[in-house]
């Protein structure tokens, strides 16, 4: 399973599956992070605890835990 967290900066791919459940999943979905959505890693912070991704023109910051729960192609 390859997750969003393993992507390099400026790497583009598509979302395969969301592994989180409940409200977190709903929040991710409401930002457009769903199966087949195109996703790109933009930046990460110093400790690499957080990454910034871009989906449909929206920039979203995630913590590594959340990024690891997003499976990509």
């Amino acid at each position: 399973m390859k997750t969003l967290y393993e992507l390099k900066k400026n790497e583009k791919t598509k979302v395969k599956t969301l592994h989180s459940r409940g409200v977190i999943r709903e929040r991710l979905v409401s930002f457009g992070i769903v199966r087949d959505a195109e996703i790109e890693v933009k930046n990460c912070n110093f400790s690499k605890d957080n990454i910034e991704i871009s989906v449909n023109g929206t920039f979203i910051a995630l913590r590594s835990e959340e990024a690891k729960s997003i499976e990509v192609i």
Binding site: G22, R27, L28, S30, F46, N50, G57, T58, F59
Partner: protein, 676 residues
């Protein structure tokens, strides 16, 4: 249809879509505009009159969805469910159609009249996004208007649409879910009709979504959810609906919008390449903060001498006209030195607020939350805590309120407990006063920055301790939008600074004025017999000192002073700590009164700065600064703290926590500086 020609409009939208700005442009009011979530934390009303109708706008906190994810969203959801309003004005950012339409699809389910605003159209058109608003209007079954709150475009069309829709009958939305859901909805509806109940789509939806428990329908609902589970790989009903919504939003966005030019990277991405760079991001942020405090001190101290001498000569001038000694002392030593001491710092305050409002309006604030989350997380805080914390540099009151953007109660409480460590604007006068007295002007800016930094670091340590011992538990996930960078609207930055200036002056003219009078009174009475001292040839200054020490304030100060003896505080400093609880600026006003009483009234009054230099050693001054930095919040902030935490016991915790920390830290500071 419309009562008294008044139309109540609930303005709803995701964060940063320009709701507040749009309301300002529609109604010529001055609601606060910012570029991060959590600026509008409470609903605010503004009104306008158009074509004979009075239109009332209610600015609700930005919500990504109608899910009670944060307190903000709870306020909005509750308002929409149970308050009185005629129309929903759904404002959306036309550069992010899909994400915004997610909320729209939820709003349509509320079965209320609705008008959709495609805001920020200036930006989306510049980026080459064309939106077919007529087609969008057909698909959603509601009126749609294009608008730019920035340029005022579409203003009259929006007001017209609101009035038209208020007068029309309500039409149910035509949004369709995917096949399996529609099938189940129809089943439920048919069954409801067969047992003579309301078989409307709205009712069926509520039942299917489990928002209503119903014995009669239990079997049919169970089979419906089994059927859906098969289709949706075991998702819960809420999860299914969230996917449905984004699918609908995506479908509509694709159908109505066209990109004509495709720019590879927009400005926001380019700026972020630098500002949130993995290596330079944090140093840039620290540099910007350092710069802010440097400017606050340097630029702010330029008019200080001027204000100081104006106040002094004003006192002298007035003093010459007052014959009665007591009266003159009250006005010159009490009111003018008390209020004047506080006025001195107006320029510093304005610069600080200007800086903070720049942070707020440009969108940089969320970036810093991103940069700091990893670091904050280790201390038991959340990246989003940065927003209330930095607001705390201005004033703790809005800071406590903006902590509402934090979803987890624990994160919110910890953040609120340490907001006090972020020195608020009212403490700035105390800092500037002492720094001016004890450091050269080259060092001053750095010392000021250092103080704020120490506060922040102590706050982080405090957070860690609270997390470890008091508020234990799971972490809140970090999912945060980084909004598009926008140039600040100068009108609103100006407005924020202007309001702050006005509030500061008002406080000086009322609260601090009264406090100065009380302090003057308490420091001049009771009158004691000094005749025999004069006979004994004791100098006038000595006599004044003796009188002061035996005044109410002096006596009270002396009773408590032993507690602060280890920190080196004299009784004047001790007293000012207590009066400072009313408001932190009062610390300065108190010192202004207490240290000016030793003077001959008609003498050119020496400035407070010089007085402090003479009467206090450096170690005491530093310990005092640290104590003021940490000890309990002012009266007004305490009230808000209790209200926002919802429990009085937390206030008790806060008092114990801050007082102990203040005392220990001040003591350590004192030791360090006496050793040097």
């Amino acid at each position: 249809m419309i009562k008294n020609n008044i139309i109540r409009v609930a303005v709803v939208g995701q964060p940063n879509v320009g709701k507040s700005m749009l309301i300002n442009s529609l109604s010529n009011s001055n609601l606060k505009v910012g570029n991060f979530s959590g600026v509008t934390v409470e609903k605010i009303e503004a009104r306008t009159v158009f074509n004979g109708f009075e239109i009332v706008f209610i600015d609700l906190p930005g919500s990504y969805s109608l899910k009670d994810y944060t307190i903000d969203e709870k306020v909005t959801t509750q308002f929409l469910d149970s308050d009185e309003y005629d129309i929903i004005l759904n404002v959306i950012d036309s550069t992010q159609l899909e994400k915004n339409l997610y909320l729209t699809s939820q709003l349509l389910e509320l079965n209320k009249k609705m008008v959709l605003i495609l805001n920020i159209i200036d930006d989306s058109e510049a980026r080459g996004i064309f939106i077919d608003s007529i087609q969008l209007s057909k698909l959603l079954g509601i009126r749609v208007e294009k608008s730019s709150a920035k340029t005022g475009k579409g203003r009259d069309d929006i007001l017209n649409s609101l009035i038209l829709s208020a007068r029309e009958n309500f039409i149910e939305s035509k949004l369709q879910f995917s096949q399996p859901i529609e099938e189940e909805l129809e089943n439920i509806s048919k069954f409801l009709v067969s047992i003579n109940r309301d078989g409307s789509r709205r009712e069926s939806l509520k039942l299917l979504r489990g928002k209503k428990i119903d014995r009669e329908l239990a079997p049919i609902l169970v089979s419906a959810s089994k059927h859906l589970e098969v289709h949706y790989a075991d998702l819960s009903i809420d999860e299914i609906f969230s996917e449905e919504r984004i699918a609908i939003a995506n479908g509509i966005a694709r159908e109505v919008s066209k990109m004509t030019i495709t720019k590879n990277r927009n400005l926001t991405e380019q700026i972020d390449e630098i500002l949130i760079h993995q290596l330079y991001g944090l140093p840039i942020f620290l540099f910007l903060m350092w710069l802010l405090f440097q400017i606050t001190f340097e630029l702010g101290s330029i008019p200080m001498n001027l204000i100081d001498s104006v106040v002094a000569s004003f006192g002298e001038y007035i003093g010459n006209y007052i014959l009665n000694n007591e009266m003159r002392s009250l006005i010159v030593d009490g009111i003018i030195s008390g209020v004047g001491a506080v006025l001195l710092f107006l320029p510093n305050i304005l610069i600080l607020f200007f800086g903070i409002s720049l942070l707020e309006t440009t969108g940089y604030m969320s970036r810093v939350a991103f940069l700091l989350d990893g670091f904050f997380h280790r201390f038991g805080l959340h990246g989003k805590s940065f927003i209330p914390l930095v607001t705390g540099f201005g004033c703790s009151i809005p800071a406590y309120m903006s902590a509402r953007t934090l979803k987890s109660e624990r994160d919110r409480l910890i953040t609120m407990f340490i907001i006090g460590f972020m020195s608020c604007g009212a403490k700035l006068p105390v800092y500037v006063l002492f720094i001016s007295a004890f450091f050269s002007s080259d060092e001053a800016g750095n010392i000021l920055f250092g103080l704020y930094l120490i506060g922040a670091i102590l706050g982080l340590i405090g957070a860690k301790i609270l997390r470890k011992f008091i508020f234990k538990g799971e972490d809140e996930p970090f999912i945060m939008e980084l909004p598009t960078y926008r140039l600040p609207t100068w009108k609103l930055v100006w407005h924020t600074v202007y309001i702050q200036a006005l509030m500061y002056l008002k406080k000086a003219g009322t609260f601090i004025l009264v406090a100065s009078i009380l302090i003057w009174f308490a420091s001049n009475y009771p009158k004691i017999e000094t005749a025999n001292l004069i006979e004994n040839n004791i100098s006038k200054t000595e006599i004044k000192k003796f009188e002061l020490e035996n005044s109410y304030l002096g006596l009270a100060g002396k009773i408590v002073q032993p507690v602060f003896e280890p920190l080196g505080f004299d009784w004047q400093l001790t007293v000012s700590l207590f009066t400072g609880i009313a408001a932190k600026e009062v610390v300065v006003a108190t010192l202004g009164v207490l240290y000016s009483v030793g003077d001959e009234v008609d003498e050119t009054s020496e400035s407070l700065i010089k007085k402090l230099q003479e009467s206090i050693p450096l170690a005491t001054a530093m310990a005092f600064l640290i104590f003021v930095m940490i000890y309990m919040p002012c009266f007004a902030a305490s009230i808000v703290f209790v209200r926002e935490t919802g429990k009085k016991i937390y206030y008790l915790y806060l008092l114990v926590f801050t007082t102990i920390t203040a005392y220990i830290s001040a003591f350590i500071t004192y030791l360090i500086f006496t050793k040097i």
